[in-house]
Each structure stands twice: as structure tokens, then as C-alpha cells.
């Protein structure tokens, strides 16, 4: 047994703290997933069914393989982004209601990065889910061009970061009002309509179409179709423009989301409602 030790304040810069926090939470999420191997397998197996649903629907309506690919890419990206969007508030609310949030917050790391760290693994597994769905679609005959997969993955990851940034606004709402679902539910449903997962946003009336320019879903889905479909739909935005738009969205939304989240935390701390 050691004798008395000097108190220490470890000199860590913000990047090191971010790395330590992200590393710690990713590891623990892996441990948790590993503890329930069958539920992990079932979660990934479940994605076969929505693909089958649209496969048979395209057969029934005689839509053809290109329309099947169109829909598979739309639902896969939406499913992948959904995890990034809802995971953040889901984990935070679970910790808040279980009474463990304060345990996380007594760690010497900036509070604003804790929910993001909690959601990294979930976001990554969402990306894997999207890839798996597209792969299943390909197995069922969706004609896909796989030569531009790396660029497609880059756009998917930018979409995930964007959704995490939107999630921080919902998390701010959750910290102050104890419920984050209303924000995420409204946004998720709106993104389903205007994001173009099953139809192109050009179908929408003008007064509704402008909303599609505000949600990252529409950019990501459109670009993925341009990159992965052998016969891409006309009128899609060029992937380079999408990448530029998403990068700007990520920077602006992440910075403002973290700022708002930090302010919410400090306000909740002052009111004494942080962990309740």
C-alpha cells in the first residue's frame, strides 16, 4: 500500500480531454455491447426487413430495380442518421432518469462534450447499419455503383456529425426541460417528409420544398444517390457541393449547438436542476 500521495492536477489541454472522454465512453459502449452479443446481432439482422419491405413493394408496383435502389438508399441513410439524431438525447435522458448523470458530471472534463462522447459509438453503429442495409439491397438486386463508396462514406459521416450537432440543441432542451423527444420528434418527422428518403424533394410544393434545404438529410440522401446509383436521378445536387454545404453546416451547427448546450448546463447548474 502506498503512503500519502501528493494531490495532483494533471495538465491536459482541451484536445487531450476530448480524446480521453471520447476514448473512455467508446470503450465502455463496446464493453456494454459485448455483454449482450445476441441483442447486438439481432439489431443488425433486423435491418433486413425494411429492405425486404421495399423490395416486395417495388415488385408489386412494378417500379423496377432503379426505383428499388432509390428507396433503399433513402431509407438506409435515414436509418443511419436517425441513430445519431436520437442517441444523444436518449442516452442523456436515460442517465438523468437513472440518476447517473451527476456521476458523469463529477469527472474533470468539460460537460459539453460528455453527451457527444456518449453518442459516438451509437453514431458509428448507425453508419454500419446504413451500410448493411445498402449491402442487403444490393444482394436483392438493387443496381449500385460501388466504385465511389469512400466518398459516399465521407458524406454519410458528415451527415452523422450534422445530426449530432442538431442533437446537442435537443440535449440543451432536455437539460432544462427534462424532455428532449419533442424537439427530436418534430425534427425527425419533418426530415422524413422533406429529406426525400422515398421521393425526391422536387415533388414537394414550393412552400414546403425550401425546408428541405435546411435539413442535412436531403443533402446526404441526394448525394448518396448520385454516388451509388448506376442511373442517378436527374436534378440531384453535385457531391462536391453537398460536401461543402455539409462542412459549413457541421461547423456552424456544432459550434452553436455546443455553445447553447454549455449555456443550458450552466443555467441548470444555477437553478439546481442539473441532475433531477
Amino acid at each position: 500500500m502506498s503512503g500519502a500521495r501528493a494531490s495532483v492536477i494533471r495538465n491536459r489541454g482541451l484536445p487531450q480531454k476530448v480524446l480521453d472522454t471520447f476514448g473512455a465512453y467508446i470503450r465502455i459502449d463496446i464493453v456494454e455491447d459485448w455483454m449482450f452479443p445476441l441483442s447486438l446481432v439481432l439489431r443488425y439482422m433486423a435491418v433486413i426487413f425494411p429492405v425486404l419491405l421495399y423490395f416486395f413493394q417495388s415488385l408489386y408496383l412494378d417500379l423496377g430495380p432503379d426505383q428499388f435502389a432509390f428507396m433503399v438508399i433513402g431509407i438506409s441513410v435515414t436509418a443511419g442518421l436517425q441513430d445519431a439524431l436520437t442517441g444523444l438525447t436518449g442516452r442523456l435522458q436515460f442517465a438523468q432518469e437513472r440518476g447517473t448523470l451527476e456521476t458523469y458530471m463529477v469527472e474533470p472534463v468539460p460537460w459539453a462534450i460528455i453527451p457527444l462522447a456518449m453518442n459516438i459509438w451509437r453514431s458509428l453503429s448507425g453508419a454500419v447499419l446504413a451500410c448493411l442495409m445498402v449491402s442487403v439491397g444490393a444482394l436483392f438486386g438493387a443496381p449500385l455503383d460501388l466504385s465511389r463508396v469512400p466518398l459516399a462514406l465521407t458524406i454519410l459521416f458528415l451527415g452523422i456529425i450534422s445530426c449530432n450537432a442538431i442533437g446537442t440543441f435537443a440535449a440543451s432542451f432536455l437539460v432544462l426541460f427534462k424532455r428532449g423527444e419533442p424537439v427530436i420528434m418534430i425534427y425527425g418527422l419533418a426530415a422524413g417528409v422533406v429529406g426525400g428518403s422515398l421521393f425526391p424533394p422536387t415533388v414537394l410544393p414550393g412552400w414546403l420544398r425550401w425546408l428541405s434545404y435546411l435539413v442535412p438529410h436531403s443533402y446526404v440522401i441526394s448525394a448518396e444517390r448520385q454516388l451509388l446509383m448506376q442511373v442517378p436521378p436527374e436534378g440531384g445536387v453535385a457531391p462536391a457541393i453537398v460536401i461543402g454545404a455539409l462542412v459549413v453546416f457541421c461547423i456552424v451547427a456544432s459550434a452553436s449547438g455546443l455553445y447553447v448546450f454549455d449555456k443550458s448546463l450552466n443555467y441548470a447548474k444555477r437553478l439546481g436542476i442539473l441532475g433531477v
Binding site: R10, A24, V31, M35, E107, P108
Partner: protein, 357 residues
């Protein structure tokens, strides 16, 4: 700040500045005039979530506290006394309305992130642990968030597990541990980054008396060996007494008593005398006689319990008994239970209306 080098070779900064109360003492935790008022949430927020308080609630009112290295301070008080609020302010989970404080020279308002590195927090409940992970994984998660390096883990995890006697359980899943072991794991987690101060919130709440006794012995040893400043809250008053610690008795956000328990006893204790007679009739006669002489006595079967007068002591009791003292078979002093002693302190001033926070 000065630099220090640990035995693992890492170089860290160590705060040397101490708070204003620390002159001449190795003070680690110092609070001065600490006040916290919980305000109802603004009206615009109530559209989203209803408030659970309608009026401002003063949870802490001018709390002064000083705990030095190697010292344990027991925080005692009923629910709603302000204990948890005080702990939360120290680790930065809520902010004080007024007053100041420091931990190891770090300001509780502006340096709470650094404070969380020098304070080990042992929450009252097991749910703060990752139940499906192993003992080691729990410590690794906490250590990483504390900024510990791999080289530090190699030395420190076996060290703290040995301290709390959990070496054999290093690779056990937490859910399989007994309540006492889980409590020791929570303590190990608090000790992992070599803190200067420990905050133990009801550390023995969920464990049996034998395990609680062992845990408190462990804490007492650690306080001396690691020179820790410890704040501990507990509803088990016999445990507080066994710690031989300084005590802060709180009620409705105020400090009712601040000092060691011996001084508290000297100041407030009213010793009782237990007198046993050969027959119950003699005991009841003695009760009548003692009460008629202005003493406070009550008889049960063959025994009379009498409050010892502050002046005169046993002699006054025997003088009042007269010839009945010849029939006394057995006599002993009954120390006042800490529970009664503390109740007397609380009753010493009119109680304010109990708050519901």
C-alpha cells in the same frame, strides 16, 4: 502553482495557494458564508416542465466549514438539512447564491473542473457503477476521464484494489459483487486519482452493519495514511461516533453545532443513573421520593432511571433516597445516546418551518 513528481514519474502541477481560512493549518476544504437559495424556474420554462418549488427555498444559510488534511468531518442532519446541496456546491454541480469556498486552494465557483480532479466523490448508490462491466473496467473508465496515463493505471489500479481489499475481484463483473464489495468499489473509484479530499455521501447506506464497520475502519485508516480531508454524511449516528470525527450538525440550512463530538457531549450530555433495587415496590418508592426532591426519575419494575443533577451528582441522588439507598443492589451511569444528544441540540432553538426541498 508548484511542480511535483509522482513515483510514476509524471510531472504535475500542484496548487499551493490556500484559502483565507487556512492560515497556520493544512486546510483542504474551506467554506465561508455559503448560501444557496433554490429559485422557482421562470414562468416561461413552466410551459415545458412544471416546477417542483413555488417559493424560493434557502437550502444553505451562511455555512462556514474548514476541514484539514487527515481530518474527517461528519455532516449530520435530517433530510432537507442541506447536506447534499453543500456537497454539490463543492464539486460544482450547483453554484452558491453567495459566499465563497475553496478546495486545495481552488475556488469552488471558477475552478470547479480542476476541483473535480482533487476531490474523490463516493455517491450513495450503486447505480453510479457500470453493473455489466468488470471492477477493472469501472476503474479504467474513471481513470481515463481523470486523465490518468496507461503507466499510472498499471500501478494505481492494483494499489487501490489492495487498499479496499478487492484484489481478487479485479476481473469480476460488478453485478456479481455483494453490496459491501460494491461500496468498496465506489470507494476505490473515488481514491483512484489520488485525491486530496473525499466526499462520502451515505457510504454505508445499503450495506449490513458488519460490512459498514469494516468500511468505516478502512476509511479511518486511509484518512491517516493518505492524509485526506474527508466529508462524510450518514444517518447512522453510531457510525459517526465510531469515526471519532469532527461533526457539523445541520438543520434547515443552518449549522447547529460545529466541533468534535467529545465537546458536544461535555456541553450537552445529561447523564442518567440506573439504580436497581431488590424489589419493585422499593423502586416505585424511590421514584416518588426522587421526584418529590426535584429530581427527574422514572421506575420500571425493579429499576429507577434518574437524570443526574449538574450540581452535586450522585451524592444528591443518594441524599434524596435516604434509607432506601441501603436497598440498592446495583448502580450504573448510562451515557446519553448520540441520537438523544443531537435531538437536544436541534431542540435548543425554535425550529423553523421544515422546508420541503
Amino acid at each position: 502553482m508548484t511542480a511535483d513528481t509522482t513515483k510514476t514519474g509524471e510531472r504535475f502541477e500542484m496548487p499551493t495557494g490556500q484559502g483565507p481560512l487556512s492560515a497556520g493549518r493544512n486546510e483542504v476544504i474551506g467554506l465561508s458564508g455559503l448560501t444557496k437559495t433554490y429559485e422557482p424556474t421562470p414562468k416561461w420554462m413552466r410551459a415545458f416542465a412544471r416546477t417542483h418549488i413555488r417559493q424560493p427555498v434557502k437550502a444553505l444559510d451562511g455555512i462556514d466549514l474548514s476541514v484539514s488534511a487527515g481530518e474527517v468531518c461528519a455532516i449530520v442532519g435530517p433530510n432537507g438539512a442541506g447536506k447534499t446541496t453543500m456537497f454539490k456546491i463543492i464539486v460544482g454541480l450547483t453554484s452558491p447564491t453567495s459566499g465563497s469556498g475553496h478546495v486545495s486552494g481552488l475556488d469552488i465557483c471558477s475552478e470547479s473542473e480542476q476541483i473535480r480532479q482533487v476531490v474523490g466523490w463516493m455517491p450513495s448508490e450503486d447505480r453510479s457503477l457500470l453493473m455489466r462491466a468488470t471492477v477493472k473496467e469501472n476503474l479504467l473508465l474513471h481513470g481515463r476521464l481523470q486523465g490518468m496515463t496507461k503507466r499510472e493505471f498499471v500501478n494505481r489500479i492494483p494499489e487501490v484494489l489492495e487498499m479496499v481489499n478487492l484484489t481478487a475481484q479485479e476481473n469480476s463483473v460488478v453485478v456479481s459483487l455483494s453490496a459491501g464489495m460494491k461500496a468498496r468499489l465506489r470507494l476505490a473509484r473515488a481514491l483512484l486519482p489520488a485525491p486530496r479530499a473525499l466526499i462520502l455521501d451515505e457510504p454505508t447506506g445499503a450495506i449490513d452493519p458488519v460490512a459498514a464497520h469494516g468500511l468505516l475502519n478502512l476509511i479511518t485508516d486511509l484518512v491517516q495514511k493518505e492524509q485526506l480531508a474527508v466529508l462524510i454524511s450518514s444517518h447512522r449516528l453510531e457510525e459517526i461516533e465510531a469515526l471519532k470525527s469532527k461533526a457539523l450538525l445541520m438543520s434547515d440550512g443552518h449549522v447547529k453545532y460545529d466541533g468534535d463530538l467529545d465537546t458536544l457531549r461535555n456541553r450537552w450530555e445529561q447523564t442518567r443513573l440506573e439504580i436497581t433495587f431488590s424489589k419493585s415496590t422499593l423502586a416505585y418508592s424511590a421514584e416518588t421520593r426522587l421526584n418529590s426532591n426535584g429530581l427527574r426519575a422514572s421506575a420500571t419494575d425493579k429499576t429507577v432511571e434518574c437524570l443526574l443533577p449538574t450540581v452535586g451528582g450522585v451524592g444528591v441522588v443518594f441524599a434524596a433516597l435516604g434509607e432506601l439507598s441501603l436497598s440498592v443492589e446495583h448502580l450504573r451511569e448510562l451515557p446519553m445516546p448520540l441520537r438523544d444528544l443531537i435531538a437536544m441540540v436541534y431542540q435548543s432553538e425554535p425550529q423553523e418551518q421544515r422546508r420541503t426541498k
